[in-house]
């Protein structure tokens, strides 16, 4: 095996096995910190040994076994320091056999426990995101810090504090009870969707508009959740939503760094494979006949968009109908704003503007951008200009600012 092949095997093992190693060790030792460090040491050992000894036949089992030995060494070292040698001696030298002894079944998967622990509602949202990317995603602290434009030391503190709270406050390492599962799962999905959205349109002015690293990571983690909970409609819905959004990424920013709205995108640049996979997921959910949740409805909206040959062929009545269902589930102003955008295509900008005005979204750039566009279409240039100004002042991202600025400057002079 060449050096390149070994390096590729290590990268693949990291992508496929990191979460399982951390999750298994957390299950055995009851401590995220120990699990994380031992997993990192095991991968470092792989980087040292595999080029010499060759890639083991079952890399995952090798990594888990190695990490367990590292964890036991570490606990012994600490125990000696703390003079609690007796306890440490009770730890078995033989790592638990991996992949065979435990009863299988998705709900029993340690990776699911790990996800629910990292996304526990008693942790701040920023901590949930960081912890999930580190523990389940296997991103380094430096990578996470870069992704969220935070100093590495600050990100490290955030993760350490979260682990400390989990340990001291007794956040359980457990899949929630059946009655709590839907609410807790929607908390996990919300974290994954936040990661995806931060990648899809960064809220930070200094960041690239679209960052494939974060969207890809969010999709990978959502695929993992789907593999663990294949029957759940909202998990499938979120995956479909991400795939259908990601498919449009190549057309989303113009060559000169300006955000391109959906109706102006070059649809030939869309990723057909991702669209096909997303559509298949949406169709499967429709065929199930079960009432769709929020992510399934948003996925269906995106399926309608990606189904249309060009913007003019979009089935707007179906989109409005889907938003009607969404408003019944979630009557929040943002959902009503998005519904109004579809209404503008169906019933005209006047009707839509009446629905947009008065929504309590004054601090949200998309609210002002939507108003600006509707006012522009109604020929009310002066008011449109003022709305663009508000949107530009509130928009976080340079690509979005560039687009809004050009639209504003394209307005005809006059009121």
């Amino acid at each position: 095996m060449t050096g390149g092949e070994v390096a590729a095997a290590i990268t693949r093992a990291h992508r496929e096995e990191w979460a399982r190693v951390v999750a298994t060790l957390t299950g055995r030792f009851g401590d995220l910190d120990t699990a994380e460090e031992a997993a990192a040491e095991a991968f470092a050992t792989a980087v040292e040994r595999w080029p010499v000894d060759g890639v083991p036949p079952r890399p995952g089992a090798w990594l888990t076994t190695t990490a367990q030995r590292k964890a036991i060494d570490r606990i012994r070292r600490e125990a000696r320091r703390a003079e609690k040698h007796r306890e440490a001696l009770m730890l078995s030298d033989t790592p638990e056999p991996t992949g065979t002894a435990r009863p299988t079944g998705a709900l029993d998967d340690d990776r699911l426990r790990l996800l629910f622990t990292c996304c526990h509602p008693a942790l701040a949202v920023a901590a949930r995101i960081a912890l999930t990317l580190r523990m389940v995603g296997g991103l380094t602290v430096a990578e996470i810090a870069r992704a969220f434009l935070v100093q590495e030391t600050a990100m490290s503190r955030r993760i350490t504090r979260a682990k400390e709270k989990i340990k001291v406050a007794g956040i359980p390492y457990r899949v929630p009870s059946r009655e709590d599962l839907p609410a807790r799962l929607s908390g996990v999905l919300a974290v994954l969707y936040l990661v995806f959205n931060e990648g899809y349109l960064s809220s930070e002015p200094g960041q690239e508009a679209v960052r494939g690293d974060l969207t890809a990571e969010a999709i990978r983690l959502t695929r993992l959740v789907r593999a663990l909970l294949p029957e759940d409609g909202e998990v499938a819905g979120l995956l479909a939503l991400m795939l259908l959004t990601e498919a449009r990424r190549p057309a989303r920013v113009s060559a000169d760094g300006e955000l391109v709205p959906l109706d102006r995108q070059d649809r030939r640049a869309w990723d057909r494979d991702l669209i096909a996979e997303g559509h298949a997921l949406v169709r499967a959910r429709l065929a199930s006949g079960l009432p769709p949740g929020r992510y399934q409805l948003l996925a269906a909206v995106n399926a309608v968009h990606t189904d249309a040959r060009d913007a003019r062929h979009t089935d707007w009545s179906q989109i409005v109908e889907l938003y009607d269902q969404l408003v019944r589930l979630d009557p929040s102003p943002i959902v009503r704003l998005n519904r109004a955008i579809a209404v503008a295509e169906l019933d005209g900008p006047q009707v839509a503007l009446a629905q947009v005005d008065g929504l309590p979204l004054d601090g949200y750039h998309a609210f002002h951008a939507t108003r600006a566009d509707l006012l522009r279409r109604l020929g009310r240039s002066g008011e449109a200009r003022a709305a663009y100004d508000r949107a530009i002042a509130l928009a976080g991202n340079a690509a979005e600012t560039a687009y809004l600025t050009r639209r504003r400057d394209d307005l005809p002079a006059g009121p």
Partner: protein, 107 residues
Amino acid sequence: MQYLLSVIFDAPGLATPDEDVAIDVFNDRLRAEGRWVFAGGLGTPETATVIDNRGGAAIVTDGPFVESKEFLAGFWIIEAPDLDVALALAADGSKACNRKVEVRPFL
């Protein structure tokens, strides 16, 4: 594990009779389920006295150690296997006493 459930309130005043009944029901349940360690209501912050004997001579100060809009009105100490159980009980406790509740683990 043991958790301190602090009852947080922003105005002095005793629990209403309805709240008292609900708190009694909740306390009985804590005892029945083996979660009860201790609980009590506290006098207002104005009734507090701070004493500092670090310097050898005890200095007595009238009033609470920290002035704030919100204060500790009472507390429960409960026994629970993990934070999920503690949070579920705190949610019921908050409803019973009609106040915010902070959950904090004992070390």
